[in-house]
Amino acid sequence: MTVSAPASVAELQALVRDSERIHAIGNGSKTALHSGLNGATHADLTKLSGIIEYQPAEYTVTVRAGTPVRELSAALREQGQYLPCDPLLPESATIGGTVAGNLSGSRRYRYGGVRDFILGAAVVDGLGRAFRVGGKVVKNSAGFDLSKFLVGSLGAYAIMTELTFKVFPDVPRFRSLAFDYERLEDALAAIYFINQNIFELDALDLKPLENSWQLLTRLAGFDETLPQRLERFSAAVMSHTSLLKIAELDDSVTLWDPLADLRGAHLVKVALSPKQVPDFDRRITAAQRRYGVGGNVAWVATENLSQVDDALQACSLTGLCLRGAVESAVIGAPVENVLASRVKQVLDPHGKLV
C-alpha cells in the first residue's frame, strides 16, 4: 500500500491523476473505513490542515479538510461558538473525515447534523479537477448543492480539501438528568412525549442498563434559568411517563460521548427512526449499544459483525462500520442509488476514488 501526503491541492490533483485507485484518509480514526481497499493509494490529507478563514460575526468558518476537529473546536470555543453538529470523535478525527462519514455526536440533537451545518467545500474529483461547491455565506441557493452531497460520501465521489461551516454561539452551561424505565417501550414513549413538548433539549440519548433503559437528557442555557427549566422538565416527564427513577448526573464530556461505554472489536453507526428501534434492538441484544439523537441513530459495538449485519438486513437498515478491519464498511441493506451513480459517473467516471 502506498501512502502519499500531498501538501497542496495541486499535489493532490497530481496524485489523483497519477493513481489508479485512491483513498483519502485523515487521522485514520475510523479504522474500518480504511480497510479492505486492495492496495489503493492512500492520500493522507493531514498536511492540508489549518483554519483558512474564521469570522465569528458571520457565524462561518472555512478550514482545510485535514484539520483536526480538536483544533477547530478550540478556535471556536475561544469566540464562544461551536459547531452544533458535534463531530463524533472530537479528539481524534479530522473535519474532512467527519463530513465524509457523516458522524455527529449527541449534541447534534439540538440544531442538526453535519448536513445542516456544511455550507460549501473545495474538492478534487476523480478526474483530478479542483473546484468549489456550495458557498461561503450562511444562506445560498445558487447552483446544485454538491456540498451537502459530500456528507456521508466516504470520499468516493470527490476528495474534500476545504470545508465551510455555519457555526453558532454556544451556551456552555449544562445540566443532565437520567430517567430510568423498566422497558424499552416506556423509554420510547418518554421520547415521544418530549418530542411533542416545548422542552428544548441539548441532547437526548437512550441506553440499556442491566435490567432497564436509561434516558439521558441534557438542558443547556443561562445559569439563572436552568434550575427552573430543569424543574419543569423533570416534573412533566415524571407525571407523563411511567419511570422507575430519576437522577441528576454530573454533566461531563464522557457522559455525552455516545461511544464512551461501547466496547467491541467493531463499532457500527445506524441511522434509523425511533419506531424502528424495538425491532432492531431485539435482534442485537448481545451487542453493546446506545441510541442517540432521540432514537434516530444507533451506535452498536460488537464482536460479531455478521449478527449486526443480519439484523440490519432483516430491518432493511444500513450500517456504517467504523472500527475493526472489514471487507466493506457499509453493511446491512445496500445503499446503491441511481442518482448517486449518475453523480459518480460525472465526478469519477474511472472509479478511481474508493
Binding site: 458571520e58 427549566r229 427512526s273
Partner: protein, 482 residues
C-alpha cells in the same frame, strides 16, 4: 405541440385535466416573476404519482421539455413554462399522507401547501419551520426545487434542512428513493436529499416527501425597533450577533418598504428610516432571560422607538407587514423587480451604502427588505414599465446589485434560486469548469435536457420578455390609468 404527443397525453389524462385551449393556457404563462412569460403547449393536472411518472417517461421518450409547477409563486421564474413545452401542475397532489407527531414527521405529496403542514401539525404542538413569505400558498414541491427559505432560517435552516426522505422520478423516468423517517436523513451514503433539494426542477420531480416537524416554541418575544438611519439598524444586528444571542429571526425594512407594508396591512409600524424586527423563541424562562439581554442591546443601539408584541395578535401583525412587503410594493409602483442576493452579514452596511449610490445613478427607487440575520438582501427595484427602456434600466441596476453581492463575498441568490431570472449571472459566481461540471451532472440525469429546460444555466432559448409600455386599449383611448 405535436399531435401525437397530445394524443399520448390523452391516454393518461381525462379531458378536464389536460388543458390545451388558449384560454386555459394563458393564465399559466407566468409565475410570480411577470417580467417573463411563455405559453406552454399544454398543461396537465395529475392527481396521483402514477400519472406523473407516466408523463415524465412520455416526455423523455418524445423529448418534450416539461416544467413542474405548484402554485406558481416563484420569484425567479422557476416555474415559467417552456415555450410549447408541457407544464405539469402538481397542486392537486395535496394530500398529507402521514402525520406522526411522536416521531415529529409528516409524509406529504408535492402539491401540499407549506402552511397546510403547520396547520395539520398544530394540534400536536408541532409546526413546519421553513416559512417563505408565500407560505400560505406555495407548495412543498416548489420549496424543494428552490430550497426555499424564509425569515426564520438562521436557526433552523432552509427547506433542505427539513427534508428527511424523498421519492422522486428523475427526468429520464427512473424512479428512486432516498432517506426515510430518521432525523439523519440519508444517514449512510452521500446526502442525496441535499443534492436534490434546490436543483430547480432540473433533476426531476419529487413525488413524496418526508419532512421533519419542530415543536412550537413555548414563547415568542418579538421586538420592533425603529431607527432614523438604516446603518444603525444594521449595526444593531451586529451587536445582537456579538452578544451571543441566537434569535429565530432578524429582519430589516427601509422607509419605502415600511410605507408599502403599512399601506397594505396597516401593521401600525412607526414612521422611520429603518425598522428592525428581532424575534426570540424557545422555552419561556430562557427566552425571558434572553429578552432582557436583547432589550439592553436594542436600547443601546440608538433605536428611537421600541415596541414589543404583547400577544400573538400583535406578533402576527408585525409579521404580516413584513411578509406582504414584496407584493405590497405593487401599491407604490406599477412594476418592480424583487432582487435576492446575499452578502456577509458584517458587510451589510457597506452593501446598503452602495445600493443607495446605485439608486442615485439610475434614478430609480429601491425599497429594501432583508433577512439581516443571514445577510440575505431583497432590494425591490421600482420602475414603470410604460416608460421606454425602464425595464432595461431596472434590470441593469439589479445586475449591479448582484455584482456587488459577489464582490462582497456573498451569493447571487439566497433563497429564490437562479431560475430564469439569474441564469446569466451564474458565471459570475462559478467558474467555467464548475458550470461545466454542473451541466455534466444535469446531462447524466437528464440526457435530453427536458426537465425545466432553459433555467439555471446561462444561454438557451431566449425567453419572451413580457409586454410593457402602452396598453393597446390605452393607445386606442379606451382606457386610462388614474
Amino acid at each position: 405541440m405535436n399531435r401525437a404527443f397530445i394524443a399520448a397525453l390523452e391516454s393518461i389524462y381525462p379531458a378536464d385535466r389536460l388543458l390545451t385551449r388558449e384560454v386555459e393556457l394563458l393564465p399559466y404563462e407566468s409565475d410570480a416573476l411577470t417580467a417573463f412569460s411563455a405559453v406552454p403547449g399544454a398543461v396537465v393536472l395529475p392527481v396521483n404519482e402514477a400519472e406523473i411518472i407516466d408523463t415524465v417517461r412520455l416526455c423523455h421518450e418524445q423529448a418534450v421539455p416539461f416544467v413542474a409547477r405548484g402554485s406558481g409563486t416563484s420569484l425567479s421564474g422557476g416555474s415559467l413554462p417552456i415555450p410549447d413545452g408541457l407544464t405539469i401542475g402538481l397542486n392537486r397532489l395535496n394530500r398529507i399522507k402521514k402525520l406522526d407527531p411522536e416521531q415529529r414527521i409528516a409524509v406529504v405529496e408535492p402539491g401540499v401547501i407549506n402552511l397546510a403542514i403547520t396547520e395539520a401539525a398544530q394540534p400536536y404542538g408541532l409546526y413546519y419551520a421553513p416559512d417563505p413569505s408565500s407560505q400560505s400558498i406555495c407548495t412543498i414541491g416548489g420549496n424543494i426545487a428552490f430550497n426555499s427559505g424564509g425569515a426564520h432560517c438562521l436557526k433552523y435552516g432552509m427547506t433542505s434542512n427539513h427534508v428527511l426522505g424523498m421519492k422522486v422520478v428523475l427526468a429520464d423516468g427512473a424512479l428512486t428513493q432516498f432517506g426515510g423517517e430518521s432525523i439523519e436523513g440519508v444517514g449512510i451514503g452521500p446526502d442525496l436529499i441535499g443534492l436534490f433539494v434546490g436543483s430547480e426542477g432540473l433533476f426531476g420531480i419529487a413525488l413524496e416527501i418526508t419532512v421533519r416537524l419542530m415543536p412550537q416554541p413555548e414563547l415568542y418575544r418579538t421586538v420592533l425597533a425603529a431607527y432614523d438611519d438604516l446603518g444603525r439598524a444594521g449595526d444593531a444586528v451586529s451587536m445582537v450577533v456579538a452578544s451571543g444571542l441566537l434569535p429565530g429571526a432578524m429582519e430589516i425594512m427601509d422607509r419605502l418598504a415600511i410605507k408599502a407594508a403599512e399601506a397594505s396591512v396597516q401593521a401600525g409600524y412607526p414612521d422611520a428610516e429603518a425598522l428592525l424586527i428581532v424575534e426570540l423563541e424557545g422555552e419561556a424562562p430562557q427566552v425571558e432571560a434572553e429578552f432582557d439581554q436583547l432589550r439592553g442591546i436594542i436600547d443601546e443601539s440608538g433605536a428611537f422607538e421600541v415596541r414589543v408584541a404583547n400577544d400573538e395578535e400583535e406578533r402576527t401583525r408585525i409579521w404580516k407587514g413584513r411578509k406582504g412587503a414584496f407584493s405590497a410594493v405593487g401599491r407604490l409602483s406599477p412594476d418592480y423587480i424583487v432582487q435576492d442576493g446575499v452578502v456577509p452579514r458584517s458587510r451589510l452596511g457597506e452593501a446598503l451604502v452602495e445600493i443607495s449610490a446605485l439608486k442615485e445613478k439610475y434614478q430609480l427607487e429601491v425599497a429594501n427588505v432583508f433577512h439581516a440575520g443571514d445577510g440575505n438582501l431583497h432590494p425591490l427595484i421600482l420602475y414603470d414599465g410604460r416608460e421606454d427602456g425602464a425595464l432595461e434600466k431596472a434590470e441593469a441596476l439589479a445586475g449591479e446589485i448582484l455584482a456587488l453581492c459577489i464582490r462582497l463575498g456573498g451569493s447571487i441568490t439566497g433563497e429564490h434560486g437562479i431560475g430564469m431570472e439569474k441564469r446569466d449571472y451564474l458565471p459570475a459566481m462559478f467558474s467555467e469548469e464548475e458550470i461545466d461540471i454542473m451541466q455534466a451532472l444535469r446531462l447524466a440525469i437528464d440526457p435530453k435536457e427536458i426537465a425545466n429546460r432553459g433555467k439555471m444555466f446561462p444561454g438557451g432559448e431566449a425567453p419572451a420578455l413580457a409586454q410593457h409600455g402602452m396598453h393597446p386599449l390605452e393607445r386606442a383611448g379606451v382606457i386610462s390609468r388614474e
